[in-house]
């Protein structure tokens, strides 16, 4: 795992369920789970540990963990999941395959603009997490096109959350950063005090503090990773399995949060939601 956060936990749960289903009646598959703290050294250490265990297959969740394993240049097959837009990253390893997801960040900006005048957007990301940086870059490009100011909110340590106390953006977007989601409760508490609408691309497990989430459901990635893992364990070469990017999303609006922020969701906006938290 790139970080011990609920989204990757849910992918892992779906993976375990599916792989157990597929291996039912066969020799039990032993799973060693590494939950490193989200930083380069920990990802690297976790990858090296698994390689040292001489496991048959490594599964990763999130692009930083996958890239850490690939960096070790091991010949142990790798199946990645929870990888943001894998086709955008040059994965140069014949031992790696997997699945990822894409969330149209333009939609988040669009929905923000439908509930509030947006002149500035704060983006919570982590400069040490490759996928989070790419999401920031995408948002930067989109805001530049639309004449919206963007503010970087780089989280590398818990103390960085203090920077949010002085932020002045109209709205805040949280990228798929493991560090940000590790401290999500603290993060939204700070932003709540500032009455700032927040959007996220990972589900808000506590259903408190995030106004809207647009995310790719985790179970499909877990199941796909399990299918790929099973094929590799039964003889298929990773290079023969095409990578897959899931683009289906779910949109959740939190009306409790909207009420707290004094935002009146137009009815024609609410009907777009897959789910409304009331």
């Amino acid at each position: 795992m790139t970080g011990d956060i609920p989204y990757y936990g849910a992918i892992h749960e779906a993976f375990v369920n599916e792989i157990n289903k597929r291996s039912a009646g066969e020799e039990k598959i032993e799973i060693v789970l590494q939950r490193p703290f989200p930083n380069s050294i920990s990802w690297s250490n976790a990858a090296r540990k698994l390689i040292a265990f001489d496991v048959d297959l490594i599964v990763t969740y999130g692009s930083p963990a996958a890239l850490a394993v690939i960096h070790e240049k091991s010949s142990i097959p790798l199946v990645y999941a929870g990888f943001y837009e894998p086709e955008e990253v040059a994965i140069n390893s014949k031992y790696a395959t997997g699945c990822g997801f894409k969330v149209p960040l333009s939609s988040i900006l669009r929905y923000f603009k439908r509930v509030k005048d947006v002149n500035s957007l704060g983006v919570v990301f982590s400069s040490i997490e490759e996928d989070s940086v790419r999401q920031f870059d995408t948002m930067k490009r989109l805001t530049e096109q639309q004449g919206i100011k963007i503010a970087k909110m780089d989280i590398q340590a818990q103390s960085d959350l203090d920077k949010l106390k002085t932020q002045q953006s109209d709205v805040v977007f949280i990228t798929g950063s493991s560090l940000a989601h590790l401290w999500l409760d603290d993060l939204v508490t700070i932003l709540e005090k500032q009455q700032v609408p927040v959007a996220d691309i990972f589900p808000d497990e506590n259903e408190a503090g995030v106004l809207m989430t647009l995310f790719q459901p985790s179970d499909t990635q877990g199941e796909m990773a399990a299918e790929m893992a099973w094929q590799i364990l039964t003889g298929t070469r990773p290079a023969d399995l095409a990578t897959q990017t899931f683009r289906d999303t779910e949109l959740v609006f939190n009306l409790i949060e909207a009420k707290r922020l004094g935002i009146n969701f137009p009815i024609q906006l609410l009907i777009e939601a897959t789910r409304v938290i009331e």
Binding site: K102, S107, Q216
Partner: protein, 305 residues
């Protein structure tokens, strides 16, 4: 004084009774042939994405028509696309602004007369169905669509259901349940576009006018979508009137609407109604929809209702 013989009296009584029956029959039969001169015109509207904005726009028009015709013109929203024909009867409507598919049904089933079409601010009185995907998706052909999810608008929409269904059938898709992982109805053209933009559906269908309107409101949408197929153009909205309404009133109604872009008051109302002008409509405009429905659905009907 001479008394008529009993037989002659019976004859006259018989003749008088027959005359009464004939007059009564004629009187009761008359409304069938006579034209209605209603005290007010009740016009139905099919709901759009933003019903509040829509009602406001149509209210300006209704007020103008009331002034010009000297007869109260009232509006009512007809719940859903597919219930329009039923509502036409139960609400005792004299006319309705109908989208192309329901207009075709109204012309065929209720013998409505298509009077006029509004020309929107982009200069279009007609719309066409689009089938579209996100540009960054891998879907470019029918084969790429297999296993994806598709969003339609409503079973009674030409642009948002009949056309894509017909297109899919022409390309060999016999069963949408089997071909797609999922299909659903968004309820509005704008929602279908947003569903594809968000990734809630891989493939979408919607009418061109709604599609371009959204792009006009938010130019960031255009570059994100790719149109894969488009239908022939059909009237987007048509004011259809019952033929029982007096010919004189129908002609005056059409006349007021067709000439309102030539008067300052009319122009102002058109601006509020968000149209440039009205143009004359004809039954022939709807032939293509009936043909498409016959091919795709087997008959002109509201699928699934």
């Amino acid at each position: 004084m001479r008394h008529a013989p009993p037989l002659t009296r019976r004859f006259w009584r018989f003749l008088f009774t027959c005359l009464l029956i004939w007059i009564f029959t004629l009187a009761t039969a008359l409304p069938v042939f006579a034209f209605e001169q209603p005290e007010e015109l009740l016009i139905g509207i099919e709901p759009e994405h933003n019903i509040f904005d829509q009602m406001q726009r149509y209210r300006y028009l209704a007020d103008y028509l009331s002034d010009q015709l000297g007869i109260k013109v009232k509006l009512t929203i007809m719940s859903r696309y597919g219930e329009v024909i039923k509502r036409f009867k139960t609400l005792r409507l004299q006319g309705a602004f109908l989208t192309s598919y329901t207009a075709t049904m109204g012309i065929k089933e209720l013998q409505l007369e298509p009077l006029v079409n509004p020309v929107n601010l982009l200069g279009e009185s007609k719309s066409q169905g689009f089938i579209f995907v996100r540009k960054d998706s891998d879907i470019r052909s029918m084969n790429d669509m297999r296993g994806g999810s598709i969003v339609f608008v409503d079973p009674a929409s030409m642009e948002g259901y009949l056309f894509p269904l017909s297109f899919l059938q022409q390309h060999g898709v016999k069963d949408i349940n089997a071909y797609f992982s999922r299909y659903f109805f968004s309820g509005s053209h704008a929602s279908a576009v947003f569903a594809v933009l968000d990734g809630r559906a891989d493939i979408g269908s919607a009418k061109s006018t709604a599609y371009y309107q959204l792009i006009q409101n938010d130019p960031s949408i255009g570059p994100e979508l790719e149109i894969l197929a488009q239908s022939p153009k059909v009237p987007e909205v048509t004011l259809c009137i019952k033929t029982e309404i007096a010919q004189d009133l129908r002609e005056r109604l059409a006349g007021v609407l067709l000439h309102m872009d030539q008067t300052p008051d009319g122009k102002k109302v058109l601006q509020q109604f968000k149209a440039l002008r009205f143009v004359k409509s004809s039954k022939e405009d709807f032939t293509i929809i009936e043909k498409m429905a016959q091919e795709a659905l087997g008959s002109l009907t509201v699928h699934g209702k």
